[in-house]
Symmetry: C2
Subunit: 457 residues, 2 copies
């Protein structure tokens, strides 16, 4: 039970911000989105008919065309593309095996941006470090001719908070290993899975340090190597990865707008990214985000025309370094105050369980009014007002203090699939996708219809 005063405040907030008709429309949108399988249809089409969507590939072009076609088909008032450049990279081959103490296949993947091994592969003794800091502390030259291996285990948590501590080994591991003389770098996957899928993801080199191949292995394979060492063996591994740096590539942010009736230049931004890694079909990352934001805006338009615009932005080349988002916010940097609310769906397709803002105090009554309408979807309100937004909102946050929102999803299982070959459509629950769609629809409509535009801190 909520205390009576909270109910009263909330009821007052709603009445201050919205007419009874507007609140009826919110309920209609919520019901429609909760029942419609539009987001599922979009996700099924995208992940089945196109599949993986690595920036710069033919599938990337197909994705841009797919998104433009469907946004138009769904009746968005304006649909357009904005170019974004990025460092184009391809994976052609990856394999690895233990060659001592016995021959055993290993499940490996090149991290994004990795250089190739020699054509015939490379071989070396594995040296295990439990953490990135231990690798950093290794003496110079101590890894000469060897393969550095960080076996850090990511924590499982509802908000994915294990990712950050684990991912530094992905971003910087190869640089630190090369500094010590290693010929290759290998890491336990940034993953909570117990399956033999290696987790790819972005990685970086330092121009001052020799580039070495940088890879991740599946968690059971990481355990295998750790056990061999425990038993006193000296594991020898052969790695062969063939990749290519293709220089600067170009893709496109795809944008669809439902134009507002009263303040068309002001808009709610619903973000997601249309690229994916090449291993899976990017159903969770981030096909779901694309499908549910597209469907949410469409459901709103089916019920009413909002006062402010709703802009669905499908960012390009997120996985390679937020390139679409950087291009978008740079291009629109003189008009960022037109964004009255921004949220990104890029954390899979499990249920939204909480709603949180990051806004100016004057905007909080409207936030609470929105939270009240999210409650029927099982979504609680987090009053901390510290939302950070998804990754594609980082460039926005770096430029200005925009009104940012988190529709917190349950990420307990997300890192079982994230960035692996196993990120496929069957991992998405259609009912949970509907709940997500309804949450974004309610949020976007109410954020667009507030009496006054929301502002950041």
């Amino acid at each position: 039970m909520l205390p009576l005063c909270a109910l009263t405040v909330s009821a007052v907030a709603q009445a201050q911000e919205f007419t009874p008709t507007q609140l009826e429309d919110v309920a209609k949108v919520r019901t429609l989105a909760s029942q419609s399988d539009l987001s599922w249809q979009l996700l099924e089409s995208l992940t089945t008919e196109i599949g993986p969507r690595l920036p710069g590939t033919e599938n990337d072009k197909l994705t841009v065309a797919w998104a433009e076609k469907h946004l138009k088909r769904l009746g968005f008032d304006k649909v357009w593309l904005e170019a974004a450049t990025f460092p184009e990279w391809r994976r052609y081959h990856e394999s690895a095996k233990l060659i001592a103490p016995s021959e055993q296949p290993l499940h490996i993947t090149a991290l994004g941006n990795s250089i190739s091994t020699p054509e015939q592969g490379l071989r070396g003794e594995v040296v295990l470090f439990e953490t990135f800091d231990e690798l950093k502390a290794a003496p110079p030259g101590s890894l000469k001719g060897k393969i550095a291996f960080i076996n850090y285990r990511m924590n499982r948590d509802i908000d994915g908070n294990g990712y950050g501590p684990a991912v530094q080994a992905r971003n910087k591991g190869a640089v630190e290993a090369a500094k010590k003389g290693a010929i290759a770098y290998m890491m336990r996957s940034v993953s909570t899975a117990h399956h033999r899928f290696a987790h790819t993801g972005g990685s970086h080199y330092d121009d001052q340090v020799t580039k070495i191949p940088t890879t991740a292995i599946a968690n059971p394979d990481a355990d295998q190597i750790a056990r061999l060492l425990k038993h006193g063996h000296t594991p020898q591994v052969e790695i062969n990865i063939q990749t290519e740096d293709l220089g600067e590539g170009t893709s496109f942010n795809v944008i669809g707008e439902i134009t507002g009736s009263d303040y068309p230049d002001q808009y709610v931004l619903l973000g997601s990214h249309h690229d994916s890694w090449d291993l899976g079909t990017g159903a969770l990352d981030d096909g779901a985000g694309m499908a549910l934001t597209m469907a949410a805006a469409k459901h709103i338009a089916s019920v009413t025309r909002p006062k402010r615009s709703i802009r669905v932005v499908l960012f390009a080349a997120e996985e390679l370094g937020l390139w679409g988002a950087k291009a978008y916010f740079k291009r629109h940097q003189d008009n960022l105050t037109q964004i009255v609310a921004a949220a990104e769906s890029d954390f899979g397709a499990d249920v939204v369980y909480a709603f949180e803002s990051n806004v100016n105090a004057a905007s909080l009554p409207l936030v609470r009014a929105i939270a009240e309408q999210l409650k029927p979807l099982g979504i609680k309100y987090i009053g901390a007002n510290r939302a950070r937004g998804g990754p594609d909102l980082i460039p926005l946050n770096n430029l200005t203090s925009a009104p940012i929102f988190d529709l917190h999803q349950d990420g307990t299982d997300y890192f079982d699939y994230h960035h692996t070959a196993d990120d496929t459509l069957d991992k998405v629950d259609p009912d949970k996708l509907k709940q997500n769609t309804a949450a974004y629809a309610v949020f976007a409509l109410m954020a667009a219809n507030g009496k006054t535009p929301m502002q950041g801190k």
Copy 2:
């Protein structure tokens, strides 16, 4: 609660067959096996230090040496090898991708015994059949130049009863597809998993029919192809598998015996197989069976010397067609009546939930006495007396009516991992492995110590 009469019958049976001291020994063995991590240590060593164990490979030789060494180390009275030949086969490469309507990697594996594709692979349109019977019913010539695909879904069940109906498509699919003119055969994995692991396994050709490459794809990939067809596309697939038929190979059954005090020639046979497919490390199939039967006999020997012998038989080359078992029972065919009980552990490492015999009626009191001592392990008695034994007991059953036992394991999740790269040590629960070990130890000791030797029907 059991009815009083059942308790009485059971108590009488036990008192008739066993002395109080013998029953105390049973309890000691049960406790020891339930607490010891010996079976885990063996399984960890086998799957870590050797890993995959395809017959004829260097790892197969390492396995034979490993088994001989550990049986001797554990104090078995006799340890010996018996040769078995088999058709040797290797997998060198396997890859596949959708090339239309978009390029997408597919997770594929060659079925055992498959021939290679041309070096550069082959390409064809996929034609889907829901069942093996539908493929059989296709008109002659109707698959000319195409890839036949059976999408039959295996049922999940505690006793794995979905395997049989699914596996005929693996055994005979390529022959039926070739009869219709197909250039390759592809099937949905005989698996209950929702992960992108293809399931390998034995397959057969017919000398009268053209041999074509025969493969399985992971279940999410099978779903993907089915959805593409549903959306009206014509999926084109490229397959490249490189394998080799190496003619007749030789491996060895490895046998360890705890010699009986009173009737050393009569013996309880505890079976498992020491080979595995090459994709995973064969932890569930059948490293667990090896480890737990070895440990069970050792625990018995630690407590008492049984009246009859206990023979742990680690069969060779089971996966390629029960070759070790065929050789063993042929070699010993004049002495099969010396087998007073036979059971095989080859169904993973989940708990034993039921005990069932297949014996002459005169042996049933002893069976019930054993069942009574398995109850404390949570194992129920199935009185149907229709046990079939594991796969390596098929050649025995074909030769004679031996006293066969099933220690029924929970196989609900077994086919999530079976014959895939994901069959690794982390899928085994150490506590469940202990329960299995204790069950086999209690069974073997009591079967060896009965007043009269058990007989088959």
